[in-house]
Assembly symmetry: C2
Homo-oligomer: 345 residues x 2
Amino acid sequence: MFKRKSIVAALALAGATGLASAAQWQALPERAPEPADNPTTPAKVKLGKLLYLDPRLSSTGTVSCNSCHNVMAGGEDNRPVAAGVHGQTGGRSAPTVWNAAFNATQFWDGRAASLEDQARGPVTNPIEMGMKSWDDVVARLKQIPEYPRLFKEAFGPDAEISEDNAVKAIAAYERTLITPNSPYDRYVKGDKSALTEQQVRGMKTFAEVGCIGCHSGPAFNGQMGQGTGVFQKFPMFDNPYFEGKYDFKDDLGRYEVTKNEADKHLFKVPTLRNIALTAPYFHNGAVKTLDEAVRVMAKLQLNKDLSDQQVEDIVAFLNALTGPFPKQDLPRLPATPGRTFDFVK
Amino acid sequence: MFKRKSIVAALALAGATGLASAAQWQALPERAPEPADNPTTPAKVKLGKLLYLDPRLSSTGTVSCNSCHNVMAGGEDNRPVAAGVHGQTGGRSAPTVWNAAFNATQFWDGRAASLEDQARGPVTNPIEMGMKSWDDVVARLKQIPEYPRLFKEAFGPDAEISEDNAVKAIAAYERTLITPNSPYDRYVKGDKSALTEQQVRGMKTFAEVGCIGCHSGPAFNGQMGQGTGVFQKFPMFDNPYFEGKYDFKDDLGRYEVTKNEADKHLFKVPTLRNIALTAPYFHNGAVKTLDEAVRVMAKLQLNKDLSDQQVEDIVAFLNALTGPFPKQDLPRLPATPGRTFDFVK
């Protein structure tokens, strides 16, 4: 796990050697890594996509995974904090589902080790999708005639509808939500026309300033698929430079998971893939624009005051990490002919 | 406008002559009617679909047209009453968007004469999408870089983003949301294998019992595109047969629009197309299942006690009015790179 001091040291070294090495620039794999016990298959992806888009996985019948992690947009909701059933809001911003498959851990505090584990959470969170239990979810799904067949197609003829199978299917779908052919990827693979001059300049600045110290690897989220992921202290703007400028409530971050004193205010280093589409920024969405987010991070994490030109160049580079997005069909959700559920009003 | 007595008289006649005439069974047109000032074009449909699916048309950024009129399902939300911003709920059930293009009027009380006029309403309704005004919506759309170009593509090189153009585009998209090739349509067009024996029996019962008195025409919603549409008195279950069985609040229906005494408790005769997918039933969703809805309607409107067999047959027939649904792509919503809106929390 990176700690602040070691990063600053590493960055000093990077600064001394000039530009970051070519090995630092990695294209995103064309396929997301898959756990041995949940290979990505078309039948699972098909089922997982339906579950992902199905609001009947919420108590009110109004909130689906896609409500807060919108695959038609940047994979989240462009709000500071998401809104769940009955319009309730929580304390953290919905992270993007795009390329979440390349995160070593999920949630801002890394409390889920896999996409499967992440998918278990929101469904029964009382302020998100509000179901009382996964047993209730499973009972509902069993009453939707097509779902039993779709689970068998995905998991074998003896498979039943279960929490484990549901989250496996959702995770399988999410592993298809990747954007490996961004202008940046094409550039790294040799198409030197894929980036503008300003974007190339921003790429260099991104490395020289030290952003790449944490935002490294193909997904710019630290190393991929290793251990518990990369966390970084978020100083909650207790920097005089930002005094009173942002609305920041205290949030102990990873400490809430580990109860380890050293983990206080640590948050996962988020991917920068499609970052231009996921304003507002940070774990509570307190910063509204990408240029301001770049400026704030440089000051807070690296104690650097960037010039306007540097900020503009880095933002131009970050825009080169957007899309393209795989084409998808709008599916038909399985029906319950002649009846519905007693959704919570 | 049909009144209760004239229907009963007409039905007595239908009963006397036996089976309804073949002219009563009409297939749905392959294309929805279009107003002269808003022809359905691919560019408008493309734009309208984006607006329809875009939650940024709501104050909170969480509710799109599709939230309550889900095109992945039966064109509504399968809830008694819909949930808008902050989880607020209203008094009436969201009608289906599927084949709404064949309604002579829109809303349960017919207060909108066209799909265009309907689309104006929910966006600025404080308990639905919650925008303060269409000016605010237009101002927001103007800040989303791709929308100005899409409006020009749809409405001409001099066109601006405006309320009128937005609702025209949404209506154009909705005119593509039709299901003209249901088993019933194929049967009416000559494919006698398209319906099961029970469905054919149910079709005859549907006519003989008198359902077709109101639910007539290709969309089973009264005549198509004529005048102010077909309304029918809804006796609010003031029938001793239903005493205390359902949760019905008083609702003056069309009277709220016309202030005409005779319009008290009148509601639009809804289409029966895809009715199996839109439980719960009636203007406030008080009846949970389709078989019960058939039984209740026969008693309330026609004073007939249907046998279980008659109910089952009619329900089988109604299921033949479902789909198929046109294939659609999941679109990408236009982005606001590096920024978002100050959505209401």
